[in-house]
Structure formats: C-alpha cells, structure tokens
C-alpha cells in the first residue's frame, strides 16, 4: 500500500465536516425540496433553467470559433429514411392554397429591423449563390438522420436586406399550426441569434437529397442551423424578421417548443 492514508485516526467530533456535507448534499438537493418532484411547476423550472445559460456560455467559451463547422458527410452516408417530424402536412388554408399552386405564389417576406424589406420568390432564392451540405439532423427526441440540403445562405439574404444595428435575433414565422389554440400561439415560429444566423452552414434550404424540398420536410423553404437540434430548424417559412427581442412574440420564449418548456439554446 502507499504511504498516503486511506484511513486516518479519528479526530475530534467532525462538526465542521458534517456541516460541509450537509451543505453539499443540501445544495444538490435544493431543487428537489423546493418543489414537488412531479408538478415541475414554475419554481422547479426557474431553478433548472439556470443550467441552460451555463451550457450556452460554456459552449460559446470552449467550443472554439463561432464558425466551427458541423461535420459533413459523403453522399453514401445519406439516410435511406429521413423521419419527418412536427407538422408533416399543414392544413392551414393559406398553406394549402400555396401548395396546390405549386408554391408559385409563395414569397418569402424579409422585414423587421432591416434597411431594405424584401419579398423573394423561390426563383429569386435559387438565383442567389447557394450552398450544398450533407449533414446530420439531430432531433431533441434522440434520433438522427443524414440528409443533403441545398439553399441560400441566410447571411446573404440578411446582408441584402441590411440589418439595422438594433437587430439581435432573426425570427422565422411559419405557415403551419402545430397546436390548435384560441390565441394563435400554436403557429410555429423560431428565433436564432446572430452568431448562428451568419454561420456559413446556416441556409434557407429549398432542396433536400437532390430534389425539391418535400411537404413533409418543410416545402417550399426550411431553415438549417447545423449546430443545433432539429426544432430550431423551422419548416414552411413564410416570413423572416430581424428583431431586438422575442419577449413579445407569441408566448415570449423564442419559439414554438421554447414556449412549451424546451431550451432556446438547443446546442445539446
């Protein structure tokens, strides 16, 4: 055995140590005792949410440059089956009409805190320089699929529109209602920060697996944000807005799933 003790002679009553243990265990268990296990009410959520800021700060601090690229794969890695999720066939009348017209009348609105609000047709988007990437899609549920995506970098659309200095987030408003609500808060939307908005792999995709984007995957246009989870990648995009704050949008937490308890920063 080594000279260092596994076992040391007992000393005076270890009150300070007991206190330390009490504090340690108590701190770890605080969220457990502060609320009931199962109600997961506002108190629990408020405490547990603190971890999200820590995760975001740690990922920003330790994960290298803001432009670190998500892994890309060879064509042979493309999944034979790519699971569609969330809305897969929106029944919103406006969307149904556009779909029936082959999305010829669809136009992407770009507005909010921009110098030059725009309306872009699919042909306009296809005329922009494009990026094609074969990436892995990670759903918050735990599964992954690999697909090929082609589209216009979001950065080029935003640069063309010209962000005003106050702009801090980009919001995506979608055509699909994922949950029926009385106040229209079931309409899908998402927001991302400017670091992700200007990332080279963040594209407005109109093509998937070398074919026009299918309805199940968000036709005519969906977002790809490759370093985040699937729910950030809004499908059926109708309007993009540069905003300074998302507190006033819908239920104020920055996205459809965020409004239902999920993290705004979905990097893990």
């Amino acid at each position: 055995m080594s000279g260092e003790p596994l076992i040391r002679p007992a000393q005076a009553p270890l009150t300070r140590r007991k206190l330390l243990i009490g504090l340690g265990v108590g701190a770890a268990a605080a969220p457990l005792s502060a609320c009931s296990f199962d109600t997961g009410g506002p108190t629990a959520l408020n405490i547990l949410e603190k971890a999200e800021a820590l995760t975001k700060a740690a990922q920003r601090a330790f994960l290298g440059p803001a432009t670190a690229m998500a892994p890309e794969f060879p064509p042979g890695a493309i999944s034979a089956y790519f699971k569609p999720n969330g809305s897969v066939d929106p029944e919103d009348p406006e969307y149904v009409a556009l779909r029936q017209g082959g999305f010829k009348d669809w136009k992407l609105e770009v507005g909010g805190l921009v110098e030059r609000p725009m309306k872009l047709s699919l042909a306009d988007l296809r005329a922009l320089p494009s990026r094609s990437q074969i990436t892995r899609h990670d759903c918050v549920e735990g599964w992954s699929c690999i697909g090929q995506w082609k589209g216009a970098p979001l950065s080029s659309v935003l640069s063309a529109a010209g962000l005003k200095p106050q702009a801090r987030y980009i919001a995506f408003f979608c055509a699909d209602t994922l949950e029926e609500t009385l106040d229209n808060t079931g309409r899908y939307y998402e927001t991302i920060g400017l670091i992700d908005a200007f990332h080279p792999q963040t594209i407005l995709a109109y093509e998937m697996n070398y074919a026009p984007l299918k309805v199940g995957h968000g036709a005519p246009l969906r977002l790809r944000v490759e370093r985040q989870l699937g729910y950030k990648m809004a499908k059926y995009i109708m309007r993009i807005e540069a905003i300074d704050d998302f507190a006033k949008i819908s239920r104020g937490r920055g996205g459809f799933w965020e409004d239902r308890g999920y993290e705004w920063y979905a990097g893990i």
Binding site: E4, F37, Q59, R136, W143
Partner: protein, 281 residues
C-alpha cells in the same frame, strides 16, 4: 496526515477501535454524486422514452435497433402488451418496459414506467431541464473528486497491484461466503472493491463524454468525439449502456453495504469514522 501503518486507535471501545476512513472531500463528493446520479438516471429514462430504441453508428436505424422498448396495439390503437427487444428477440415485459399502467390504470405505451422517470408523466422538456442541471452538478463535483484523487494520491488506494490481481479467485470465494475482512485487513480495499470502484471512476468520464457527443454543437468543435464513439447514435448507446452498468454497480454496492455492516459503512461515509473489529479471523 499519518500513514496507514501508524493508524492508531482513537478510542478503545468494546466492539473495536474507531478509525477515520474517508476524507471529507470524498464523503461530500460521494453524496453529491449519489443524489445527482439518481436524478440523472431518472430524467435520463424520461429522455430515452422520447425515442426508446438504440442503434450503432451515426444515424438511427429505425428498422433494426439492437435494443428497443415498444408496445403492441389492438385495432383501436390501445396498447395491449409491452415488448423489450434485444438483437431481434422480443420479450413480453408488459407492465414494466414498453407498456405500463398510467394514472388512470390503463396500459400506455411507454419505454420505462412512470415510477422510474422524472417527471413521472411524459415530458421530455422537463426531463431535459432536470438532466442538464444535474449534469452540471455531477461534472463540477466530479472535477473536485478527480483533483482530489490525483493530488491526495487517493488513486493509489484504488489501483490494484499484481498481487491483488492474483488474489482475485480467493477474493471471489471469500465474497461468495460473505466473509468480509476484519482487523487491519479491513483498512484496505480488497481487489474486488478496487476493480469495482476503479471501473466507476473510469465509467463516469466516459459516460459524460458520450453524452457530450450527442450535442451537435460539441461535435462541430470536437469531431474526433464522433470517431471515438463511432457516431452519434453509437455514443447515445454507449451513454445508455454505461448508465446501465452504473445501475448494476449501484445494486451490488448497496447489497455489499448492507451485508458488510450497514451502520458502520454509513457512518464512515457520513462522519468518516469506521469501526474496526479485531481478531475474528
């Protein structure tokens, strides 16, 4: 600090002498880890339930997972049986895995049963909140533990010697007979304890790395993690299997705590003091 050989009786009691066994750092880390592990395990099962199947490689093979918890349904879509499928072989695990009773008493499709998950009802968002909050506590606590492990050379208590390894058969026989060391022999970890604790000390960092590999942001910064685990879904499977190993360890650990003197063991992990019984062997 004194060496083992000079460990002196602090007080002579009829039952034997009391010695200080675990340092304060180890004791605090142990209990913080214990609480965190239970929360992470239960919230982890909640998260697993959102996609209750495991595959290898980068992407999910929905058709042929090597492990899945699923339900059989009748024509109306009601769950009628719970199935656990391992390498294509299905076992009926109704009531526990695949399908179990909900609040209203009816059978519901659900990977792990509600009594095992946090929250008990299906809520992936809250499961993730619990998981990542306590993951931070586990990681920070683990950093303190590992710093202590190296700096105090506690690692040398856990590292088995060649003589230890040769004594494995003997140690197994002794354990099967439920004969535990007493006297000075009880001051050291025996080889089975060393191997068990060492495996846990290795399993936790691996499990955390596998968990991080599931993060698309982490993968962008450290793509070698995907190589290490052979893909994201493989990392998810490793994360799950290591958690299962730790559950197995926990069961054996608790059984051994009870069999080898629960009060003495609990006292030594709470106050640090352990009672040595003399000359029984």
């Amino acid at each position: 600090m004194t060496s083992l050989s000079s460990a002196l009786p602090a007080r002579v009691a009829p039952e034997g002498r009391l010695v200080a066994r675990h340092s304060a750092v180890v004791r605090v880390c142990h209990w913080v880890n214990a609480v965190s592990f239970v929360v992470l395990l239960m919230s982890g099962m909640q998260i697993f339930n959102a996609s209750p199947l495991l595959t290898w490689a980068q992407t999910t093979n929905f058709e042929r997972p090597f492990f899945s918890l699923s339900a059989r349904h009748d024509d109306d879509g009601n769950a009628t049986a719970g199935l656990t499928t391992i390498f294509g072989h299905s076992f009926n695990t109704t009531g526990v895995f695949g399908a179990s009773r909900g609040d209203d008493g009816s059978l519901e499709e659900r990977g792990f049963p509600s009594w095992a998950t946090l929250p008990s009802y299906q809520d992936l968002a809250m499961g993730r909140r619990w998981h990542f909050f306590f993951a931070w506590i586990l990681v920070l606590n683990g950093l303190v533990y590992f710093a202590n492990l190296i700096l105090s050379r506690h690692i040398r208590e856990l590292w088995p010697s060649l003589a230890d390894l040769k004594a494995i058969p003997h140690a197994i026989v002794e354990h099967v007979r439920l004969r535990f060391p007493s006297g000075d022999e009880a001051l050291h970890y025996n080889v089975l304890q060393k191997l068990a604790y060492l495996s846990v000390v290795i399993a936790f960092p691996l499990l955390i790395l596998a968990g991080l590999t599931m993060s698309p942001a982490v993968d962008a910064a450290f793509p070698w993690l995907l190589t290490l685990f052979h893909g994201r879904q493989a990392a998810r499977s490793v994360h799950f299997l290591l958690a299962a190993y730790l559950v197995l360890f926990l069961i054996v650990h608790l059984v051994m705590v009870v069999l080898s003197g629960p009060i003495n063991n609990m006292r030594s992990m709470i106050t640090g003091r352990y009672r040595i019984k003399e000359g029984q062997r």
